[in-house]
Symmetry: C2
Subunit: 400 residues, 2 copies
C-alpha cells in the first residue's frame, strides 16, 4: 500500500484528494497496486471535509513517517514549499508539484537532490494545468530537437483578452469580470503582469534546451497596457492579441520572453480562447504540434498531479533517468536584443520610417495608423521607437 | 550498441532512417547509449540512398540475427507485416510500427505475444502521425476515465473538406487537387471512405476502454457524398463539416464510429484545417484536452516511430507493464442504434416532422431547407428518414 501526503489543502490540494478518491478503482486497476492518502498538511482544519480526519498541522509528522513515500506539494509560493519539498526528497520521498514558482526557481536543484536520493521530483501540473505537455515533451519529442515554443500559458489573461476582443470591454472591465467569475485573484499582478507565464515558459524552455533560465531574468511584459484600439487594429490586420510565452532554442543556448503578440488568425494559438491554454511546439522532425486544454482549475490541475503520482508508483522499482537540465549560465543565454520578428506599430499618424524598414501592410483605425514592418531585431526596434517618439502609441511583436 | 532493423523503405521507413541519423547525437545523449541501423528490408534496392548498403531482401537475415533487438515495421498492409511482426516478437525483438491496419486488427494479440516474450510492441505513429497521443493517453490521462474521443484522424479527407469549404471546389475537384499535391493516393478509397479513420478510432477507443473493436465492425461513413450545398448549409448554421472518428466509453462497454459531422465553430476541432489532425479527448477529471499536429508525412510520422524506439531503449532493462486491453466481446459493444446526438437534415422543402421532434434552428440555402433537430437516437433517425423519404437530401450528425 502506497501512502501519500498532500501539502496544502487549497484548490489544487483538495482537487488532488478528490481525483485520487473518485478514480481510485480505475487507477489502482491500472497500477496493479493500492494507495491511500495518509496526511493532509494545512494550517486550517476542515471539519466538514470527508478528508478532515487526515489533516495535520505539523510538517514533521509527514517528514518523519517512513510509510509516506509520495508527497504532493500544492502550497504555492516559494517558502516553505521549497524547503518542505527539499526535506521530503532528502528523506527519500518522491515529490510531485503544481508549483511553478518553486519549479522555475529551484527545479534543477530539487531534481538533483531527488536523483541523489533515488526518488523523483515531477511537475507536470506546473505548466498548462491539466494539459499533458511536460511528459510528452520529454518522452514523445525525444526524437526531436525542439526549436521554438509558443504558449498561451495563463488562463486569466487569455480570458481578459478574449473578453476585450469579443465584447469590446476594456482591460479594467474585463479584469473585473474575470475576478467576479473567480478566474482572476483579488491581487492579479502575477497573472496580468506576465510573471506566471514567465515561470512557465522558462520551464518549457529548459525542457527543450536543458538550461533553466531564471524567470526574473527574462523579458516580461504583461497585458495591462492593452487598449481596445489595439484589439481593433489587430482585427483589421488579421491578427488576434494573445499573451505569448516564447522560447527559442539554439544549438548553444536559449532565449525566452513573455509579451503580448499579434498572432495571425491561421496560427492554431489564435483560436484558443477564454481560460484555455495551448502550447505550440516546433521541432526539427515533427514540425508543429500543439497541446490544448484547461490551463488551470481544481480537477484539471489535480488530474496532472495525479498522473505524476501514477508515474512514480508505476516506476517505483525502476531507475528512471532524471531530467537532463542545469541552471543556465551566462554563456547559455542568448541576447534578447538580437531576437527578430515582424512588428506592428500603432501610431498617431503615418510614421516616418527609415528606407531600410519595409512596410508589409498598413491600416487606419479610429484615426490611428498601424503598420506591419518586416523582421527587425529588438535592438533596432528600440532605436526606431526612440526616433519616432510620441508618434508611436503602441507596438506589438507578431506571431505568424 | 543497440541494433535496429527497418522493415519497408517507403515514405515512413526512409523517414525513420533519416530521423535516427539526423538527430543521432542528441538522441544518444538523451539515452546515454548508442544505436545503429543494421538492416533495411525491402524488395527493391536503393543504390543512391546513403542507407543503400543496409538493404536486405530476406526477412530471415533480420529474424535470425540476435544482435537486432528492435524492429521498426513500416511495410503497410496486413501481410506480411503482421506475420513479420509476430515472428520478431516471438524471437525476442521489440517491434514499433506506424501500421494502423495491423494494430487495429491484431494489436491485442501482438501486445500479448510481446509481453510473453519480455519485449514490447509500440505504435505511437499509427494514430495521428507525428502527434503524441497514444503515450499521453496511457500515461498522462491515467488519472482519468476517458469518456469520449473525437478525432480528425485523416489528413487527406481534412484537406479535401477544407478545400471544399474555403475554395468552393467540389469533392471530385478537391480530391484531384489532393492527389496532385501528394496528399491523396491514386486509389483514395481507404481515406475517402473513412476506413483509415475507422482503424485509428478503434485504437483510441481501445486505449480508453480496454476493448479493441474490429475496425470493420463499426459504423463507417466517408466523405464521397458531401456536396457544396452541404458545406454552404454548414456555414449558414454555424458549423464546419469534418470527418470525425468518434468513440464513447461507458463503464461497461464502448462504441465507435466514423462519419462526417457538422462541428460547431466553437469546438477546437472546427479550426483544424488542411492536412492537420487533431484529437479531442474528454475525460472525467481533466475535461477537454486536444492534441494537434501533422497527421501524416515522412518525418512527422517517423518522429513518432523513433519516440517509440527511444522508449524501448530507455526502458530496456525494466519490466514495463503492457497495455491493458483485449479484443471486444459482443457484450462490450454498445448499440449504435442507441447513440444520440443533434442532427442536421437538409431537405428539398420544409420537412413534415412529428411533434416530438424539436427543431432548434433552420435556414434556407439555394432553395434547400435545413433544420437542426434536438438529440435523437440513430434508430429514431432511421425511422424519421424513412418517413420523410426523398424530401431529405442529406443528413449530418453534429458535434457541439
Amino acid at each position: 500500500m502506497i501512502k501519500i501526503a498532500i501539502l496544502g489543502f487549497g484548490v489544487v490540494g483538495s482537487g488532488t484528494a478528490e481525483v485520487l478518491t473518485e478514480n481510485k478503482r480505475v487507477i489502482e486497476e491500472r497500477l496493479g497496486c493500492s494507495y491511500s492518502i495518509k496526511y493532509i498538511l494545512d494550517l486550517r482544519d476542515f471539519p466538514d471535509s470527508p478528508f478532515g480526519d487526515l489533516v495535520v498541522h505539523d510538517f514533521n509528522t509527514i517528514l518523519n513517517d517512513p510509510e509516506v513515500s509520495i508527497v504532493a506539494e500544492m502550497m504555492g509560493g516559494s517558502h516553505p514549499a521549497y524547503d518542505f519539498s527539499r526535506a521530503c526528497l532528502e528523506a527519500g520521498k518522491s515529490v510531485v508539484t503544481s508549483n511553478k514558482e518553486v519549479v522555475s526557481n529551484f527545479g534543477v536543484e530539487l531534481c538533483r537532490i531527488a536523483a541523489e536520493h533515488g526518488v523523483r521530483y515531477l511537475f507536470e501540473a506546473s505548466v498548462g494545468g491539466g494539459i499533458p505537455v511536460i511528459r510528452p515533451m520529454i518522452n514523445d519529442l525525444a526524437s526531436n530537437r525542439v526549436r521554438t515554443v509558443n504558449g498561451i500559458l495563463n488562463g486569466t489573461t487569455n480570458y481578459i483578452l478574449t473578453q476585450m476582443r469579443d465584447c469590446g470591454s476594456s482591460f479594467a472591465e474585463s479584469l473585473s469580470e474575470a475576478q467576479k467569475l473567480g478566474y482572476a485573484e483579488a491581487n492579479p499582478a502575477a497573472d496580468v503582469e506576465g510573471i506566471d507565464a514567465a515561470r512557465k515558459i522558462v520551464i518549457l524552455a529548459a525542457l527543450a534546451s536543458g538550461k533553466l533560465l531564471s524567470p526574473k531574468s527574462i523579458h516580461t511584459e504583461g497585458i495591462t497596457n492593452i487598449t481596445l484600439l489595439d484589439t481593433a487594429v489587430a482585427d483589421a490586420l488579421g491578427y488576434t492579441i494573445k499573451l505569448i510565452g516564447h522560447a527559442e532554442v539554439y544549438d548553444d543556448g536559449v532565449m525566452a520572453m513573455v509579451s503580448p503578440r499579434m498572432v495571425t488568425k491561421a496560427n492554431p494559438l489564435a483560436n484558443i480562447d477564454g481560460v484555455f491554454n495551448g502550447i505550440l511546439i516546433t521541432a526539427n522532425m515533427v514540425g508543429d504540434v500543439m497541446f490544448y486544454g484547461p490551463g488551470a482549475g481544481k480537477l484539471p490541475t489535480a488530474s496532472a498531479v495525479v498522473a505524476d503520482i501514477i508515474d512514480i508508483i508505476a516506476n517505483r522499482d525502476k531507475a528512471v533517468k532524471p531530467i537532463a537540465w542545469e541552471d543556465a549560465k551566462a554563456e547559455d543565454i542568448k541576447s534578447f536584443d538580437d531576437y527578430v520578428c515582424r512588428r506592428v506599430l500603432i501610431c498617431q499618424s503615418a510614421p516616418a520610417l527609415p528606407n531600410d524598414v519595409k512596410v508589409l501592410k498598413s491600416c487606419e483605425v479610429n484615426g490611428a495608423v498601424a503598420v506591419v514592418i518586416d523582421t527587425v531585431s529588438e535592438a533596432r526596434t528600440s532605436q526606431l521607437l526612440a526616433a519616432l517618439g510620441d508618434t508611436v502609441i503602441a507596438t506589438y511583436r507578431t506571431l505568424a
